[in-house]
Symmetry: C2
Subunit: 114 residues, 2 copies
DNA sequence: TATATAGTTGCGATATTGCGCAACTATACT
DNA sequence: AGTATAGTTGCGCAATATCGCAACTATATA
């Protein structure tokens, strides 16, 4: 018998997904695919304010998806679980397949829908 | 040059993740892993009202993750992209690894945190 | 037509999220 | 100490999500 109930696992799983349910956080994860980066690096590449990037980073970090390394003035962030990129890529792959197969369905992913 | 901008892809990707960012919807997906099921089946297994299950199903269906098949009184639902289970399993695997390695971090996934 | 069963939808209260803005802390350098 | 650069945090408002409840639609069967 499991120490943790299934319901709790679903809850944790959902929380990980909710961290991933924001386009800016996904872009950050994608930008951290290779090297570690600073808030400033990310802010520039994403064309966002540092405050906003820092807020998103804080969420990723507090939820344990990102790790930090300080070096002087700079704080370099990197992915805590690079394996997560596999899930990221898989989902994106499904997305692209779907877009190419069923163009009409793309409508469903615009801002709103009937 | 891509027809769709990167930002749009991140946006769509985030929307898929936001569909997955609810424990009840994750449980539904997991229960649909094998056979197709009716709202009633799911409601019973999950110990929820049919109305609530139906609402979650509606979200999954409208976002294109579920497909329906009517048979008399019953509507059977099944996964539109079984491949999505790979992403589901991968994420869950990461979750379980993390729980076993760093028990303390589990705290971060409880309801609230400092 | 009437009744039962299966499922859906709208409403409303409550909770959560996103994000700009301004103020704040931390490190480095002169 | 003073200044610059890097990053963080709190606040407030608008937008969105959750979910119970009740009313609704759809199919089947007597």
């Amino acid at each position: 018998m499991p120490r943790r109930s299934e319901k709790q696992i679903y809850e944790m799983h959902a929380q990980v997904c909710s961290v991933l349910s924001n386009p800016k956080r996904l872009e950050i994860i994608n930008l951290l695919r290779g090297d570690e980066q600073t808030v400033g690096d990310l802010a520039e590449k994403m064309d966002l304010t540092k405050a906003n990037v820092s807020q998103q980073i804080a969420i990723l970090r507090h939820k344990g998806l990102l790790l930090a390394r300080r070096e002087g003035q700079h704080i370099y962030y990197h992915l805590a679980f690079p394996k997560m990129l596999k899930a990221y890529d898989l989902l994106r792959e499904i997305l692209m397949e779907r877009l190419s197969k069923q163009g009409a369905m793309a409508q469903r992913f615009r801002k709103e829908q009937p």
